[in-house]
Structures are given as C-alpha cells and as structure tokens.
C-alpha cells in the first residue's frame, strides 16, 4: 500500500517520512556523532607528533612509518587477515549448510541440534577460549613447526567454531522468507533435488550469504579472548598485539596501526558492496520480495 513517491523538497514531510522530521534527524545525527567522533579523533591523532599523544603538537607521518616497519605488527596483521579469510570461507559453507538443513528438514534431534548451534553465540568467550586451549593441548595437539599459513590452523578452527552459528542465523532469517512453491515449481519442471537447491534456494539466500560473510570476517578479525588462548609464539594476531601496545606503551603508533585496520576493513566492505550493488543490504526485506 505504500507508494514510492518522488516529492519535490518543498512539500512538508509525508506522514511516514520520519527521516525528514527534525526530531528524528537530530537523534540520528547525534547517534552518528556519538559513534564516529571517537574513531575519527583516533585517526586524526595518529598523525600527532607527540609521543605521549595528549595534546596536538604537529603533523607527522613518522608513526605510520614506525608501524609499517614494525615487523611483529605486520606479521600480526597478516596473520589476522589470513585467519579471517579462511574462517569466513569455512563459516559460510558450514553456516549455510546448517541453515538449510534446519529450515528444510524434520529429523530426530532437531531441537537439540538447533539449541547446540545457538550455544557458541551465547557462551562467554573466555570459557570457550580455555576450552580451545585445553583441546589443542591435550586432545588434538597442533603440530608446531608447520609452514605458514598452516600453523594458523588451530586459530582458524577456533574462529570457525564461533562464527558459523552466526552465519547460520543470518541465512535462516533470509530462508524464512523463501517461498517453497518456487522450489516445488523447479522440481515439477524436472529439476532434481540437488539442482533445485542449487539453482533456486542458493540465489535467494545470496544477500544473506554476503551479510554472513561480512559478519564472519569481522568476528574473526575482531576476536581477542579466544585467539589469545589459542595463539602460540608464531601466531600472534592483530588485536592481541594492539592490546599489549595499549597496556604498555600508548603512542601514536597504536593509533596508526588502528587506523590502518579501520581503513582496510572499510575498503573490503566497500568492495563487497560494489560487487553486489547497494541492494545487497536492503534486498529481501519488506515489500520488494513478492
């Protein structure tokens, strides 16, 4: 019943055009300031020429140079990226599979499986971190001198374990709006179960796969507690490195490293959206999906 109306600016806001009303505009603006101001000041102060970094003393790039020459920082950064990449791919596959199975089938133990899938989302990170530590020490010792990037394997496994349930949740939400008649139609037209799945269901859940991938990537990149317990001497990740820098020596180098991370994350997100078109985020919601 809603019409897409293109109104010239001079008309007063339509009843539901909340964004054009000033109280809403004010609160959205305030929230955006609240969310961004600290980050932007962090980024600005990465150029500050002062070791203590309290007051602005001048513009310099030297802390970026320092950060880029900081071998352990670079190593940590590349570890984080590689872990996030593999974790995302695996989480996407496992999460999508789990979501489809739960949506589609009745089977004994379904509630248990459903519940078990929710636990990683819910459990305190430190508990899981310790579990992972003990597991990789006593149950499945991860061979130590493996070549990079295989030595990151145990961290990747840990990350996938807490990421793929999130992906499953996202994909399930999208599956809920899937019209099974389309799949039935495909089968009536002669497609096998498998083809029906691949060619009808998968494209429908595509936006949620993108969303899920981004989610899994972030979760992995961001993780501190669980990674800390599973990382070894060769496998330090970026958040762990930044944490020790924040605890000990807070200089603009930390800001520089953080800014680099922010920029990389933003770039990758934009890449994702560019390939998908900006419909990705809004597709599948609301009226356009009949």
């Amino acid at each position: 019943m809603t019409e897409a109306i293109a109104r010239p600016r001079k008309l007063p806001p339509a009843p539901l055009e909340y964004l054009r009303r000033w109280p809403i505009r004010l609160s959205v603006g305030a929230v955006l300031v609240f969310l961004y101001a600290p980050l932007i000041t962090l980024m600005i102060f990465s150029f500050n020429d002062s070791k203590a970094n309290v007051v602005w003393r001048g513009f310099t790039l030297k802390y970026y140079i320092k950060a880029l020459h900081n071998d352990s920082l670079i190593q940590a950064f590349s570890n984080s990226m590689v872990i996030a990449f593999f974790s995302t791919v695996l989480s996407l596959i496992l999460g999508a599979m789990a979501a489809i199975v739960l949506w589609r089938f009745r089977f004994p133990g379904k509630t248990v499986f459903d519940g078990a899938l929710a636990i990683p989302i819910v459990v305190p990170e430190i508990c899981m971190g310790v579990g992972m530590l003990v597991f990789f020490a006593k149950v499945l010792p991860w061979p130590q001198e493996m070549p990079w990037p295989l030595n990151l394997g145990n961290i990747i496994i840990a990350h996938v374990s807490f990421s793929f349930p999130f992906v499953a949740v996202v994909v399930r939400a999208r599956l809920a709006s899937f019209n099974r008649e389309m799949e039935e139609a495909a089968k009536d037209l002669g497609a096998s179960e498998f083809r029906a799945l691949m060619d009808v269901v998968i494209p429908h859940i595509q936006p949620s796969l993108i969303a899920g991938a981004l989610l899994a990537f972030t979760l992995s990149l961001d993780d501190f507690v669980i990674t800390f317990f599973t990382a070894g001497p060769d496998t330090i990740t970026f958040p762990v490195k930044v944490y020790s820098m924040v605890r000990f020596s807070v200089t603009p180098e930390v800001n520089a490293a953080s800014t680099i991370l922010i920029v990389v994350t933003v770039l990758l997100t934009f890449l994702a959206l560019k390939f998908q078109g900006s419909q990705a985020l809004t597709a599948g919601h609301g009226a356009d999906d009949k």
Binding site: I126, T269, T282
Partner: protein, 302 residues
Amino acid sequence: MEQSWRQAKSIFMTLISAPLFWLVAFFIIPMGIVWLYSFGENSGLIDIAFTGTWSNYAHAFDPLYLGIFAKSIGVAVVTTFFCLVLGFPVAMAITFAPDKAKSWLLLLIMLPFWTNLLVRTYALIAVLRTNGYVNMTYQFLWERTSGLMTLLGMQPLGDFHPAILLYNNFAVVFGLVFVNLPFMVLPLYSTLDRMDRSLLEASLDLGAGHIRTVWNVMVPLAGPGIVSGILITFIPSLGAYLTPDLLGGPDSQMIANVIESQFKRANNWPFGAALSFILVYMTFIGVALQGVIESRNKRRQA
C-alpha cells in the same frame, strides 16, 4: 512446509554432516572438558582431577560472587536500555528512508561495528579521560563563559574541575553502549521493515498523533525485533571483559573479569569453569524466555 529427512536422505546427510561434525568436535568437546573441570579440583600444581565435586558451584553462590553477578546484570540492563532508546529512532529513520539513503544509513550505522573492539574502546579512553576531548571542550566552554560573564560584570565561574568520566561505572556503561548500539539497530530495522505500514497510516488517519502511533502501534508490532535486539545486546554486555577492564574504575569489575582472574591469577580453573557455566545457564534462561515470548506472540497472531 518442512519435509522429513527420509524423503531426501542423501541431501540431508550431505548437508548435516559437516556442521554437525564441526560442532561436536570443535565446540561441544572443548566445552565439555571445561564443564567437567567445573566439577573437578586442582591436583598438584598444574593438573586438574575430575572428582565430581559440587564445591565449586557452592563457592560460586557465595554472596560475594552473587553480588558481582547482580552488578553485571545491572550494568547489562542499563546498557540494553540505552541501546534501545537510542537505537529505536535510528531504526525508524532507516526503515522509512528512501531506498538509496537506506543502504547508506545502514552502512553508516554498521561500519563502527566492523572496527575492532579494542580500537573502539581505546578510542574512548582518549575521549573520556581527564585531559580528553570531552573535558578539553568542557574546559574551553567553561573558560569562555567565565570570561564572558566577567565582561558582563557578573561573578566569573569558579575554578575549572574536569568531569571524571573515565575509570568508573559511567565509562563502562558508555563504552558498552558505544560498542553494542549497532547490534541493537539491525534486528529492530529488520522487524520494522517487514511491518505492514498500512496499520500506521490507518492510525494516523484516525487522528492519533505521531507519538501515540509510535508508542501504541509501532512498538508492539516491532515486538519480536525488540526482543531479539535486547537479547543480542544484553548477553555480550553481561559477559563483557575488555570494556570494564580498560575503562572501569576500582569498583567496576564484572563477572567476566572475575572469571578471567580465576583462570589466570588464582590458577583456579575449576572455579572459573563453574562461574562461566553459571553465566551460560543464565543466558540459556534468557534465550528460553525469548523463545516463550515468541511462541506466545505467534499464538496470538494465529
């Protein structure tokens, strides 16, 4: 709508095998070991013996730890409340925005969520501390106002005292809201977006003002989204570790900090395991509650 697994056995098996294996091997088993530890005791300096004792749980019910649980719940509730209050107008704004603005707005709100938690918390330190940006602005305004008042012949304001915004519970709540707000907006937006707008238009047509429409029509319709949002915000806030650690004051410790110290300093893994599992049981209760509310909603709608 669902079919029995027998109808498409091979597909079912293919699909369920990998997630099930992964879940069991790399999650259930490690967590199981920690669960077993909660019934164990330290034996010797580094080993843990499984003795089937309940003493760890009994210890956890000591008033000291119950008080900390209560405090953590309190902080999480306050955080969730602010996230809801701040997030709802934003979700509304995004829902009713023109399509092009929609995705940009959504992106803008979610972007901070994609930056590293540590980085965001660290950024807040620079903002909130004694010589931080808030205080610097405050001092600037204070001194200008004081100068202005002197000019106008009035008594100037007294000495400037910086506001103590960091290393206290205020900072912890501030930090938790800062970190969790994007989590709240997404489910709210999801539900609002699927809402039938004709109901809102009807309400407005019938003469209710905007505030009443929002309160009496939109909010109840957004019920499931609100409940999801609350859950997604409440649970991480309850189990937060980094934020109270970096931003908190002497009396700001939350349950996750205590658990961490049991695993580290006190080297009392069985007790730490018991505490974490109490946290897990509590969150199970929360999820179950949500499930109950949701099924009651569904029944009402049916």
